[in-house]
């Protein structure tokens, strides 16, 4: 296990070390102590490392992650795993706004609650939230899956494209062009896989599926009220 200490090493040294680390020679396991809610911790990683942030992280923790497996043992600030390309990020506590924003791939797991705009503009990332999400979650979500075991706030999936949302709890309201859709065996299978990858147990039958009504894809004056 490689130890890094944000208090003594500083952000640049920690990120630089991790961004250049070769798992075979340097070892794959890394522990970052004293994160102190600092920003941009473990961002820009691009190797099959296993990194644990031992405490609360600030904004953009694991931003643009590639291949690495990052665990935050605490809460994460705005934009955790933003624009992730691949790999896995797990938050044991809660996540602030815009969790997984614009993510292209990989898996983001939030064991607690996520805040507003969870999965905003997602472009292929998969997100599994053990708790609830705030308002405008799944806003302009293009591709990928988001699983919400708890409740969803206002305007879920507003202006959604082809991403698929699964919600087990209450949805406060749906956003523009987002509708409930039937759950097929195919969807239940996908959902089961996502929950398994996230290490969460929940009955797939308790979820409902939401997606795009596709009425806003090409302008039609009769839908002008949706704009």
């Amino acid at each position: 296990m490689n130890l890094l200490d944000l208090k003594t090493d500083g952000l640049r040294k920690i990120n630089s070390t991790l961004q250049n680390a070769v798992p075979d020679s340097a070892g794959a396991e890394w522990l970052i102590m004293n994160p102190m809610g600092q920003h941009a911790i473990a961002c820009g990683l691009n190797a099959e490392l296993s990194v644990t942030v031992d405490g609360n992280a600030g904004f953009y923790c694991a931003g643009m992650n590639q291949q690495a497996d990052v665990t935050i043992k605490g809460h994460a600030g705005v934009g955790v795993a933003e624009n992730m390309m691949s790999g896995r990020v797990r938050v044991t506590g809660n996540a602030s706004q815009s969790a997984g924003a614009t993510g292209h791939g990989g898996l983001l797991i939030i064991e607690g609650d996520a805040s507003s705009r969870c999965g905003i503009s997602m472009k292929g990332i998969d997100i599994v939230v053990g708790g609830s999400v705030g308002h405008m979650s799944g806003f302009m979500a293009q591709v990928g899956h988001m699983v919400i075991c708890g409740d969803a706030g206002d305007a879920l999936g507003d202006s959604i494209y082809e991403a698929i949302l699964y919600v087990a709890g209450e949805v406060e309201s749906l956003g523009a062009d987002c509708i409930e859709k039937p759950m097929t065996a195919e969807h239940e299978k996908t959902l089961a896989e996502l929950l398994a990858r996230a290490g969460m147990e929940k009955d797939v039958k308790s979820f409902r599926r939401y997606g795009s009504a596709r009425k806003l894809y090409n302008f039609d004056v009769d839908h002008a009220g949706e704009y």
Binding site: L11, R12, N15, S16, Q19, H39, A40, C43, G44, N46, G58, F59, Y60, G63, M64, Q66, V78, G79, E82, N83, M85, Q97, S98, A101, T102, H104, R117, I120, S121, K123, G124, F139, M140, Q142, V143, Y161, E162, Y217, N218, F219, V221, A224
Partner: protein, 478 residues
């Protein structure tokens, strides 16, 4: 024009058809119960309304017909106070000029030395502005790269992400970081020479990108992770930061991902340039790009282009003032864009304090956009050379703002690239000519004292005196 010019009069003659409205009638008339004895009643000349002019009326009809706002490309077309309202004073007894050719006039500029370990060194202070692959064809993007390379300057990606062709052909490439984040990835971020965080652009300060379904072909759709053929609208705000304090943190993240090597630009549309510049400096920018309302777009609502923003001329002074107030002028560079057309515009922008300018529309025109050569095809599209702006529909006869393969093939990237570098060369030579005339051995040495204004508006906006006076409206007493 009324077919019966005398609605109160009953027809007596029984002749068929309407009388010529401009020809005076030659008989006595009874109007409203009165008999008019003089037969020659001249018509007034038909008069169009300045308020409801032909364009305005045609737009009302179009709106009534479609139920949607008018979308087009380009920047503000209406007349605005601009660089043409300023003049250089040149040499006189108290200022002597430099010899053309023999006495050097430098044109180089370094962008981004504030924080970045690898700032951009440009040979000329004219860059190519962000234009997306998607709005432009692949050939056009390649041509821009070739031309910029030959001239020793940079190009900029747009809302569609970085294409391999552009990275290959452009020696210096600025990678835009937009609200949409289409195609954004850390590998391209690291391949870029600079990163431009786009807050907004002059054509639509507060609007996001727009690409209509016709131009979302397989390749574009795949780069943007969108279904093919839909009308795509980019977000107008960034998804994971909003104000300047969060922007500061976002810039920290971008620097951490790219090893603090690359200059970070912040681009804003002209709106509150003094405050935006100050906040951008505070957020940690290396370079600030301010884009006036003459700046073009691939597609947005006409109402947005024409009625929101600031003329470029009104943006420069406040931005420079903010830099000077923070003691950051020349330490954080200012790039000005929006209607830069010739070497005089370049020189004037720099005299007002810009470190460099950026061109978009002008670059496309240099490569053949709106060329009268295609007049027949413009007519078939219902327009004419110079006025063609329906770029969002993707039928560009010049092959530039299109994704249709047969049209895009018309643009030869090598030839078009050469045209662009020729044009950049001319602009540079023109700016040098002016600078030498003002006695300056580097374009950066041009100063506001070299300028005067032809109109009160331009004098006020640019902060230079009205020609022949020492009056700067709003700053000096009459």
């Amino acid at each position: 024009m009324l077919t019966n010019p005398w609605p109160y009069r009953r027809q007596r003659s029984g002749y068929a058809g309407s009388p010529n409205p401009l020809k005076p009638t030659r008989r006595t008339s009874r109007v409203n119960g009165h008999t008019i004895m003089d037969e020659n009643i001249p018509r007034v000349v038909p008069r169009q309304s300045a308020t409801f002019d032909a364009y305005t009326m045609s737009e009302i009809r179009r709106a009534a017909s479609t139920g949607i706002y008018d979308i087009r490309g380009g920047g503000a077309k209406r007349p605005l106070p601009h660089f043409d309202d300023l003049l250089f004073l040149g040499a006189s007894i108290s200022r002597y000029p430099l010899e053309g050719y023999r006495e050097r006039c430098g044109t180089d500029v370094t962008l981004g030395a504030r924080h970045a370990s690898k700032p951009l060194e440009l040979k000329i202070p004219i860059t190519i502005a962000g234009m997306s692959f998607g709005s432009l064809s692949g050939q056009a993007k390649e041509a821009l790269g070739r031309g910029a390379n030959a001239a020793g300057t940079s190009t900029t990606t747009g809302d569609g992400g970085m294409t391999a062709e552009e990275r290959e052909h452009s020696r210096l490439l600025v990678y835009q970081y937009l609200p949409s984040r289409y195609g954004m990835n850390p590998d391209d971020l690291r391949k870029a020479d600079a990163i431009e965080v786009v807050v907004g652009q002059g054509a639509k300060p507060g609007g996001g990108g727009m690409l209509m379904g016709q131009k979302i072909n397989d390749r574009v759709a795949s780069m943007r992770s969108l279904p093919k053929g839909i009308d795509q609208r980019s977000a107008c705000r960034h998804p994971d930061w909003t104000g300047p304090d969060d922007l500061e943190i976002k810039i920290l993240e971008l620097r951490e991902i790219t090893n603090w090597e690359k200059p970070i630009y912040i681009k804003v549309g002209g709106a509150r340039p003094y405050y935006d510049t100050a906040l951008a400096v505070k957020a940690g920018a290396d370079v600030i790009v301010v884009d006036g309302m003459q700046g073009g777009t691939a597609a947005t609502q006409n109402v947005f282009i024409e009625h929101v923003g600031l003329p470029t001329l009104a943006c420069i002074g406040p931005a420079v003032q903010a830099l000077q107030d923070l003691d950051m002028h020349r330490k954080v560079q200012l790039i000005v864009s929006g209607g830069i057309r010739n070497g005089a515009d370049v020189a004037k922008a720099m005299a007002l304090g810009a470190d460099a300018v950026s061109i978009g529309t002008a670059a496309l025109i240099a490569m053949g956009d709106n060329d009268p050569h295609y007049e027949n095809e413009y007519n078939k599209l219902g327009t004419t050379a110079g006025a063609y702006d329906a770029w969002h529909l993707g039928h560009d006869p010049a092959g530039i703002t299109t994704q249709e393969p047969e049209l895009a093939e018309r643009l030869n990237p090598e030839t078009a690239g050469r045209r662009l570098s020729n044009y950049l060369q001319v602009m540079t030579l023109e700016a040098q000519t002016i600078a030498r005339a003002c006695g300056k051995n580097h374009l950066h040495n041009l100063e506001p004292e070299d300028l005067c204004a032809l109109t009160v508006e331009a004098a006020a906006m640019a902060g230079v005196p009205l020609a022949g006076t020492s009056w700067v409206p709003g700053r000096t007493p009459l």
